[in-house]
Symmetry: C2
DNA sequence: GCGAGTTTCCTAATATCATTAGGTAAATCA
DNA sequence: TGATTTACCTAATGATATTAGGAAACTCGC
């Protein structure tokens, strides 16, 4: 589908099944958010672009927040797939952590619309449904569990509880991503003031946490 | 002023000077943002609470964005004061860095309204005025310059360019703050899953960057 | 193929929102 | 005193999300 262009008439749409139209709505919403930010998503504008009147859009979504909720759900689902694909079982700790960092930042860079709704809070009064909130928790849990495994398995000895080391990783990872999006949203992961800092960041953490002899 | 309560009549207000009314408007706006988020700030609601009709509010601010711009300005001004007060010239690198981290997080925790407008982008189409954007840059510059000084002065040898070490500090600092606000916005700095992680985070960085003998 | 029920659209209306136009009374200044 | 400025007003515009109520059209059992 070309973004922003609806080619089918209403009669033609009618014949198409509901799921296809919902896909169109989601795609239109994603395009709009990528263009103007999540907060300025307009229910009316989606209807306009679909070629129907605003009230008719309620046939497919109960409210504007329901659209955000669907995007929230899809975002976390994609994040799950995305990170699982980038999680590898072999390689050094360093390589694994770099992959995790890159994966997280790449997700944010490639899906800024999902990322906004998932990790930032740009929409006033939007609270994800309990179901989708649970999905986000399990998704994050899997992510943190993986980080935990890395720390435990490979002889890392942070000198602090593993949970704290894990949370420092999460904070640094998230911080780098936020700064990259704020400063060089157009640059791919690996480039830019913060996007090019992943290797150094991981190296710093591992240097501090590796069980090497030190004179102190 | 009690938050949300206007006790003076319009005639009485008239007699008060412009600056005082502007202070009231700013305070009302801050209260509203703290209650419902920056994006749901309502121009009409501010006027309502002030006891005037919405168009009359244009006597004091040219637009709703002008109010955001004023909050942006005040936020950065306060941030400048706030961090300068917490920047000390004596003490160890460790102590200085911990103070910086705590200062940043405390600012976010104590001024969530300013913080949103300054560091997050919750308002669609809001772009700070050139003047206030410049203020934010100088303010951030001073912050980064201070971090730079710390790294240079005290024999820290990160093994990477100072600029990169500085940016890792910024990212970690910002990441911890974001995670703290997302998880335990009500807890003071020093408590909570991420708010209580500052000492460990700084220790990790310095361990990696301290010029100690290592067997590698 | 016919009637019932469902789905999908509509128009009309409500209550918000930020903003502009145009006007009036009061305060200030020459 | 007279002119100007300030601070308010009402009325209106064009947006927004949402609800109410209705009309075609499609689907299904008979």
């Amino acid at each position: 589908m070309e973004k922003g262009k609806q080619t089918l008439s209403i009669q033609q749409r009618r014949r198409r099944n509901r799921e296809e139209i919902i896909e169109d709505i989601v795609q239109i919403a994603r395009d709009m958010i990528q263009a103007d930010g999540a907060a300025s998503l307009s229910f009316n504008a989606i209807a306009r672009q679909l070629g129907i009147k605003p009230p008719s859009l309620y046939t497919y979504f109960d409210s504007k927040h329901a659209i955000y909720d669907e995007l929230f759900r899809r975002g976390w689902q994609l994040f799950l797939k995305h990170t699982e694909a980038d999680i590898v079982q072999d390689g050094t700790v360093y390589e694994k952590l770099v992959l995790i960092f890159e994966s997280y930042m790449r997700f944010a860079q490639e899906n800024p619309d999902y990322y906004q709704i998932m990790f930032q809070r740009p929409v006033p009064n939007f609270v994800p449904s309990a179901e989708n909130l649970a999905l986000s928790f399990t998704s994050l849990d899997r992510f943190t569990a993986f980080l935990h495994d890395i720390l435990e398995s490979e002889g890392i000895n942070p000198g602090i509880p593993d949970e704290q080391a894990r949370d420092i990783i999460i904070a640094l990872n998230h911080g780098l991503t936020e700064m990259h999006l704020a400063n060089n949203p157009e640059l791919p992961v690996g480039e830019g003031r913060y996007g090019g800092l992943i290797h150094q960041a991981v190296e710093t953490l591992l240097k501090a946490w590796s069980p090497v002899k030190r004179s102190e």
